[in-house]
Symmetry: C2
Subunit: 333 residues, 2 copies
């Protein structure tokens, strides 16, 4: 029994004791997102600072938030991202919102969890272009950071494991409950209008829900991009096969999260679908062999827009200043 199955079984079991609305939710292939409970606020606060700190990059200009902008659905809203020295990245930045629900991180799943992911961009020459050791030199030179690490971990030793752990702890708080769709799932039948509900039913009946399910409406599996007909793109990225080495995994990508999809344009691993209309059309044809009419497409898009939840709300962090000993950024080397 997989973890997801256990959760669903538990919900069903609970539902037999519960009220109607809870029982109704348990029958749907999508589950509501629950608000996060922060158990270690000092760790989350430190992680928030590091998420916003461009000193983790060689240039001193690029932070996690540059490409996973929390003002913009946890993405950069670009086809592919901009890295150090304005390098064009190979792939569309996936949203950090609700990303703790992903089966693995990155489009190809090469990181098992958020902590493993967090170390990637820092040391990627095409992204933040730094090294872990140089990033640590920066952090260790800033007494306020050292004090915060000591407060969180009981030791003033700053290492990459702690850095990525606190960033991941912050990212785990970035969930988006209370979407209109979740209100509907929880029993408020007025939360969706007729068009949106018809769109949801089409989403289920057409088979979209086969991959886009669970609380994140995706993120739970790898699937081939281009099942019924091949996906045409100039992107050279081949997805999961880069991790497994298996030819069968070519063009397999992690199914993207559809939560807040209204905010996370453009779509697909190459960012080539500018609009939800285009994305729904392409998905229908390539993955399901279906040509949605304009009316059907509009209904599904209307449903998708009900998946926008409460965006993370927090005070902009104030970063501790560098000191005379802090290595200086090198944006133009």
């Amino acid at each position: 029994m997989k973890r997801n199955d256990i959760v669903i079984a538990s919900i069903v079991a609970l539902a037999t004791l519960g009220n109607y609305s809870f029982a109704a939710a348990s029958k749907e292939p999508i589950q509501p997102i629950e608000p996060v409970r922060i158990t270690n606020p000092a760790m989350v606060e430190l992680g928030k600072k590091l998420f916003f700190d461009p000193r983790l990059s060689k240039s001193g200009f690029i932070s996690c938030n540059s490409c996973h902008n929390l003002s913009m659905g946890g993405t950069d809203n670009l086809k592919t991202s901009i890295g150090h020295n304005w390098q064009q990245g190979p792939i569309n930045a996936p949203t950090v919102l609700n990303s703790s629900m992903n089966v693995a991180q990155f489009w190809d799943g090469r990181a098992g969890d958020l902590q493993e992911q967090a170390g990637g961009p820092i040391a990627n020459p095409g992204e933040m272009a730094f090294t872990h050791e140089l990033a640590l030199d920066v952090l260790r030179s800033i007494p306020q950071y050292v004090a915060e690490f000591k407060n969180v971990f009981g030791s003033d030793k700053v290492d990459i494991d702690k850095v990525t752990k606190v960033i991941a702890a912050f990212e785990e708080t970035l969930v988006t409950p209370n979407s209109r769709f979740d209100k509907w799932l929880k029993g408020d039948k007025q939360a969706l209008n007729e068009t949106e509900l018809a769109g949801y039913n089409l989403f289920k009946e057409s088979g979209c829900v086969g991959c886009h399910n669970g609380p994140a409406v995706g993120g739970a599996s790898f699937q081939k991009m281009g099942v019924v007909e091949p996906y045409k793109t100039t992107s050279k990225v081949e997805g999961r096969s880069a991790v497994t080495g298996k030819d069968a995994d070519r063009f397999n990508f992690k199914v993207p999260i559809l939560r807040n999809v209204e905010l996370t344009y453009p779509y697909f691993h190459d960012g080539e679908a500018a609009t939800l209309k285009q994305a729904v059309d392409t998905m229908g044809r390539l993955q399901l062999g279906k040509e949605f009419t304009d009316e059907e497409n509009a209904k599904i898009v209307a449903f998708l827009k009900t998946l926008t939840g409460d965006q993370p709300s927090f005070t902009m962090p104030i970063l501790p200043p560098s000191t005379d000993k802090t290595p200086q950024p090198k944006p133009f080397d």
Copy 2:
């Protein structure tokens, strides 16, 4: 009688009626920063969104906050800024904090006020590389922005005058009261320690205060960089003469604000002074003909660090999403 003199005269006049601490403050060449009173919160909120919105740039990647980062003292902490396509800017980004107190904006004062300044970087090919018209096309395509402009101005017509006006309104809120130095000015004689107070006295007696005075501890005049001996730099920027066309204004720059100077490194228009120690040393020699001893230098630096006030505290803005009609960013064109 200049405006500043009138203010000082008024303070002195008031002080004769007031309490001791107020009278004490009135005798000093630096005045405390008072907290801002927000009279039009809807305008400020809209301005905050625009300040953080990278869709005002051609790339969709650079916002006002990219170079005037409110997590980092309202600067980018780089020698010179990074613009569109990673272009190296000609000059050090001045802090936006307390910038409403500047006599004019930019190092050369080419903008009379914050509103005039706000339009500059958007259309500067080396910075955000957009045009005002293209930026307006983006904003007009986003219904939530149009609604907010209507709410603020009573009309849904979005023009550059309104855009820069609301950005300036937000920037006017970015003041930093309650520094330890201000507490001392207001009568809390425990707010500074002996070293810091000795540093302040040196700052006054040595003549630093001749240019760095008023509530912003600078920003009130243009002065020549290199009075006693010339400033050596590879920077080609010549300052105020670019605006006035007068040879006498070559290497005249607006005196930078020293509020929060601990956060706004590196220093000078070319960013070549990495540390406060270096900046104080250079200023002493070039502007005042003084060689500060290490001890004197350290005292002045200790004083300067007491000028760090409360940083602006606000909720990270959530930007309204683009629509299918929104022109797409062009980062790599």
